[in-house]
């Protein structure tokens, strides 16, 4: 439904702009929609448009048959808001704000945010450098019971 009629023949090479991808019902209500488009898009222009291959990639990662390593790898990239390869305090803050909602009154106040981030780092930061790298993240995810059932999209 994303592709208009006339472009169906060269579906493989066409890129769909981000605004149309976000109209999909599965992504519409998702607070991480922009990060998902950024991570899976292979567009050189940086406009986060997705080709058919990118779309397939996204669906295969979110499907039931993807392994836990693949899912945790991509989850790490989605949660890494500044794309620097680690989850630092800023990334965690952005992550929590995405979870609680975008409006002003649904955010946690700064004291609660500080306490929450301290607790998260205490539980997952093994080398105590103040950031979570990929292997620490994968270690924490392997112990989390809800990850496999929540990190999936079924069309």
């Amino acid at each position: 439904e994303l592709l208009p009629e006339e472009e169906k023949e060269n579906a493989r090479s066409v890129r769909i702009p981000k605004s149309r991808i976000l109209t999909l019902p599965e992504l519409r209500a998702n607070p991480f929609q922009h990060r998902i488009c950024r991570v899976f898009s292979t567009s050189e222009d940086g406009d986060d448009s997705m080709s058919f291959e990118d779309f397939l990639d996204m669906l295969s990662v979110f499907s039931d048959s993807a392994t836990s390593e693949i899912k945790s790898h991509y989850a790490f990239r989605i949660f890494d808001f500044d794309d620097d390869g680690t989850l630092d305090k800023k990334d965690l803050e952005n992550l929590v704000n995405c979870l609680t909602g975008q409006s002003e009154e649904s955010r946690l106040n700064s004291a609660e945010m500080e306490q929450l981030i301290q607790n998260i780092l205490e539980e997952s930061d093994i080398d105590k450098d103040g950031t979570i790298n990929l292997s620490e993240f994968q270690h924490v995810i392997s112990r989390s019971p809800d990850f496999a059932s929540s990190f999936k999209i079924v069309l």
């Binding site: 607070p31 979870l99 609680t100 607790n119 997952s124 292997s135 270690h139 989390s144």
Partner: protein, 630 residues
């Protein structure tokens, strides 16, 4: 960057492997004997039949679509309230079927002589107690007495099968079978109480199992909530909003619990003394509030019963119900103010307030019954003492008690309808059309799940107690809850805003059933006292020729053959009861020991997990050190 194509290759290999495995399994089947093959195929077809039957039965479920849509729009906490309401409708309907088929139907059949039936009516022994003239259809009846009688259970309603007084039959002869109505009446009462108990326990066991499984694992709960918190399957914007709110609430409460634990650990001795003395003082205030409620109910009942001969004033009739409703409304407000001063953790605060509200509501009914009985058993003259109860004012006291229960039920229903019509809808209109600051600040009312649940449990306890005195009361309760479902649903959709504090469904289901169980146990007590202790009225009812209602059971046993009598006396004697009690204690100790052993195994496994994670940390540190050196 990891490309899924590497993984798809391994997927392909895995699929080929499973394909070959399936081939081998099927080849295996061919070598099975015909008997085993038939067994396997018949098992499969039976399973299919069962699944189809379950699907068909699920279509017959009452209100399935309504509750599903409520769950989708408002979450599982509110949906659990409506499922609970549906359970009560079914329970009351089953109780009504029981009472009707075993008590009312035989009476009606024998009174109207259908199927060639007749009934025995043995004349009473103490003539002066038996004068009973209900102020029924005698003389000139004004038009307005009909609605009044309908609302207060007197007049023409008093002599119908609705109340105890109708069942004046000692034995019904249906063709050649003798149907012992007093025994049936008593046994059906016990049967419906036992059925309610078993049904509630069965439902709460399911909830209890779920509660244990979803118990919080203390490991990495924050990481789990944050990294795996969002359900990527949510497609509906409303559901997403609810999920945001519940995540925010969960994180906030967890953080607050942690802060509070820290604060409690930091308390000095002086602080502790201050807090404990404050708590004792506030509990004394709670007790004072409770005694105030009980005393006012007692006075209201005494006053109302004192003017019972003057039946004209409906307000006086309904005075106990009004006072009880006021107490049920005011006391929880006071408790919620007091609990804030007591400085408990939020979860404990909620539980303690709920327990206090439950106690107030159920104890109010108890006080009403107690004051009724004190009036009924109050005896001044010798003749009165011979009867055992105040026969002048209460010739048929069970019917009077039944009338009080009937009035309570009707008034409860009227209040629910009135609050929805005259408070919720005007408030919604005000909030929608008036944009001044104070009105907008007040806003719409939240749908308080616990308040609503306590309301319907209160109604159900009245029904349980009242069914003995008014056998058709469960039918009225069924219709009442049926209508209340639709009223609450409309009120929820149009006039309420969803709660800011979403409750988890599994724990709330279990809690509702526990409170309902408390209500049932509290219903046992007045019924037990009234059946076994208070003399039954001699002017009406099936127990006229017995001292108490319970006396019909020993009387029947005396009519059994001697062997059976000996067995029954043996069961009731101490020689049987003491060893039986000891065996039950042994079984209980065994299960407690088993549970303790399981708990210890769980603790050990938890410790093992902690050690494993420490080992992992140690190894990773060693690896990073080794990498640094190379």
């Amino acid at each position: 960057i990891l490309k899924p194509t590497d993984d798809s290759l391994s997927q392909l290999v895995k699929e080929l492997y499973f394909l070959f495995l399936r081939e081998f399994q099927q080849a295996d089947i061919k070598y099975l004997s015909g008997w085993n093959q038939w067994k396997r195929s018949s098992r499969k077809s039976w399973k299919k039949v069962f699944d189809e039957a379950k699907e068909v039965l699920s279509y017959l479920e009452l209100w399935r679509h309504d509750i599903h849509s409520i769950e989708g729009k408002f979450g599982t906490g509110i949906q659990s309230y409506f499922s609970f309401l549906r359970f009560l409708v079914l329970l009351n309907f089953v109780i009504f079927t029981l009472m009707f088929s075993f008590v009312t139907l035989p009476s009606i059949i024998s009174k109207y002589g259908i199927f060639n039936s007749s009934f025995d009516e043995i004349p009473a022994k103490k003539p002066h107690c038996t004068v009973y003239t209900p102020s029924g259809n005698k003389g000139l009846i004004y038009f307005y007495t009909y609605p009044k009688d309908l609302l207060s259970g007197t007049g023409f309603l008093e002599m119908t099968s609705l109340f105890y007084g109708y069942y004046t039959i000692d034995a019904a002869w249906i063709s050649i079978f003798r149907y012992n109505l007093p025994l049936a009446y008593l046994l059906t009462t016990f049967a419906y109480l036992a059925l309610s108990l078993l049904w509630i326990i069965k439902r709460s066991v399911e909830g209890f199992k779920q509660n244990l499984v979803h118990d919080e694992d203390q490991f990495q709960s924050y990481c789990n909530k944050v990294f795996a918190g969002w359900d990527f399957c949510i497609t509906d914007l409303n559901a997403a909003r609810l999920k945001h709110r519940s995540l925010q609430y969960e994180l906030k409460t967890d953080l607050e619990e942690e802060r509070l634990k820290q604060k409690i650990a930091d308390r000095t001795m002086k602080d502790k003394l201050r807090i404990y003395s404050l708590r004792i003082f506030l509990n004394i205030i709670v007790l004072a509030v409770l005694s105030g409620c009980f005393y006012s109910i007692y006075r209201a009942t005494v006053f109302s019963q004192g003017n019972i001969s003057n039946v004209t004033n409906l307000l006086v009739q309904y005075l106990p119900s009004i006072v009880i409703t006021l107490a049920n409304f005011i006391a929880p407000q006071i408790f919620s103010v007091l609990i804030r001063l007591e400085d408990y953790s939020p979860a404990f605060e909620i539980r303690l307030t709920l327990m206090r509200c439950v106690f107030v509501r159920l104890a109010n009914i108890g006080v009403l019954l107690f004051s009724l009985w004190s009036q009924i058993s109050y005896c001044a003259t010798e003749k009165c003492k011979a009867c055992g109860y105040n026969y002048e004012l209460y010739p048929c006291w069970e019917s009077q008690v039944g009338q009080e229960m009937y009035k309570l039920l009707i008034f409860d229903f009227i209040i629910i309808v009135a609050v929805t019509l005259f408070v919720d809808f005007p408030r919604k209109l005000l909030v929608t059309y008036c944009s001044c600051k104070p009105v907008q600040w007040c806003g719409l009312q939240e749908f308080g799940i616990s308040d609503n649940v306590l309301e319907i449990i209160y109604g159900q306890t009245i029904c349980w107690i009242g069914t003995f005195y008014s056998p058709l009361l469960p039918a009225i309760a069924t219709m009442k809850y049926f209508i209340v479902f639709y009223i609450k649903k409309i009120s929820l959709i149009h006039t309420r805003k969803p709660s800011a504090r979403p409750i988890r469904a599994s724990s709330s289901n279990f809690f509702f059933l526990v409170v309902l169980l408390i209500g049932l146990v509290l219903a046992f007590i007045p019924l037990g006292i009234s059946i076994a202790h208070i003399p039954s009225s001699k002017a009406c009812g099936p127990f006229r020729n017995f001292n108490t209602s319970w006396a019909v059971v020993p009387h029947t046993i005396l009519g059994f053959p001697t062997g059976l009598q000996k067995v029954l006396y043996g069961i009731a004697s101490e020689a049987f009861a003491v060893p039986f009690f000891m065996v039950i204690c042994l079984v209980m100790f065994y299960f407690i020991a088993l549970a303790g052993a399981h708990k210890r195994v769980v603790e050990q496994l938890r410790e093992q997990l902690v050690m494993e994670s420490r080992d992992k940390l140690f190894l990773i540190r060693k690896i990073t050190e080794a990498q640094k050196h190379t």
